[in-house]
Symmetry: C2
Subunit: 335 residues, 2 copies
Amino acid sequence: MFAVVYDSCGGPKVLKWKVVENPVLDFNEVLIKVEACGVNRRDLWIREGIYQHLGKNKYLGFECSGTIVKRGAAASKLPIGSKVCALLNGGGYAEYVAVPEDYVMSIPSGLTFEQAAAIPCSASLIWLSFFERNNLIRDDKVLIHGAAGGVGSLAVRIAKSLGCVVFATAGSEEKVDFCRTLDADFAINYKKQDFSEVVARETNGTGVNCVLDCLGDDVVDQNLKSLAVGGKLICIGYKDHWKWSSVEMKDLVSKDTTIMGININTFNVVEKRNMLEGIQRDIWPLLKGNPHLVDICATYSFAQATQAHTLMEKNLHRGKIVLLPRTDLPHTDLP
Amino acid sequence: MFAVVYDSCGGPKVLKWKVVENPVLDFNEVLIKVEACGVNRRDLWIREGIYQHLGKNKYLGFECSGTIVKRGAAASKLPIGSKVCALLNGGGYAEYVAVPEDYVMSIPSGLTFEQAAAIPCSASLIWLSFFERNNLIRDDKVLIHGAAGGVGSLAVRIAKSLGCVVFATAGSEEKVDFCRTLDADFAINYKKQDFSEVVARETNGTGVNCVLDCLGDDVVDQNLKSLAVGGKLICIGYKDHWKWSSVEMKDLVSKDTTIMGININTFNVVEKRNMLEGIQRDIWPLLKGNPHLVDICATYSFAQATQAHTLMEKNLHRGKIVLLPRTDLPHTDLP
């Protein structure tokens, strides 16, 4: 089959659409003909060589949508022909991918393949942050950083669907404008404004119940200041690999505060299965019939993976970037 | 009635056994004739004036045992004459204390008044740390600091009752010896040894699932190093009021780690009630018939509160310090 590969680590231009070995289907796996694949920051880090690729599927791509075309002997939940999306251990930047059926979900009705491919990674982080390790309810206050990005934009939509009050931050006026279109209650340019002051003012000093942070150390002081008593700072990423930050444990104790790093790569099979069941139980109903909740900024063909990575590297995207196996690409017939 | 009071903040000698106004019983409260009262670090801090007293009961003492002698109009769960222990918002250093009946628990069978008075504060922190915000099970690995103290010693006992592997630390050889008598699997003098190295060696590098920390910033690096993937560092106190520590958010994300401060003073009525129900459900069965699980180091009369505080200030205690209204004290008959 064809896949996006790179012979050596480097910039976006190392990515090429080339013939590779066909995936080998394990007994508990299904083979998916990929219709779309979400692009994540992790893809860029692995391509650059600053993050290790841990999956058995050695190509990039940690989420996809598509059609089940073959099943392993022990894979029996979803019939051949099912339209699905999946959380992958790599391998999505390809025509076909083999994935344990536990990591496969039916597509919420009303969503296109493109939209479905844009969800699994974001939904995983959001489910853990808002549902499993938190219990966000109506009128809770949530601060979401990187709200114009793939995870952030879906997080704003889901928090609003739950009836929360949402403070959204982004790093440019254009992105702040985009956050307003997401229906965020407050959209803040965190480079121009101390968001903790906005939070304090708009919550009468009580703060937010949850901060969803993809920036890391840069703003940890403002984040902790923004938290209400009993609040949780949930860190799902970090912008800067080398920056440290001071946290006073006394502050954590005095406000009954939690700081949490989330990393689904550390999850075992049972934890991942529970998570995907949770997503389908708690998040799918919010998305069903509401396709506008999934914001896609740009679609590229696999052969244009270089352009897709460049767009994300420049931080110019709003919402999600998706790759598609367009018909102009050379392709293979499997199985 | 009589109570331990202080006219100005200062050293242990400011404490005096003096006549004060009788407590006023609210409709949802019970009046407890105090039989014993646990001493906590917070009592010392408030006496010194470095920590604010927030309770409606303005005397020291945040846990007690005793007998219900009167009930408010809406207090109907436990009959007069019930032998109980209670979590207090202050007021335990006195002959009588009025407390909402939601914060009152029946004494687990087999425990004396002294032992029952030693439990409520410790059990609250332990229940939150091991049960509510964690889910410790058999064979989980737990690192407990200050294991010779009131909270720490009970925490070791409870973790062992759950079938956990316990690493206990203390700051002197005498206290380390005491930790061994608590049945800790590994007892470590944290001033002499890097406990994270012991944890790494004895867990084949995987680390512990939970660290219960009352030291704060001093050892945060070693604590984070000691944690397993998905582990939780739970901070229930801090030794040093002015020390800061660096935490790299990236490390939290890479290991899916949580740092949590716990402070029951921030809890609302519902949260406290849920906590006390949880203690009675999860911890009482472990203590019933096992009075040896509660370690009391010294008992003093209320008139000897100065000596009790001095002992804790010198950090020479092992287990819990308890105050008793001995018959040699002047006393009042209420109601």
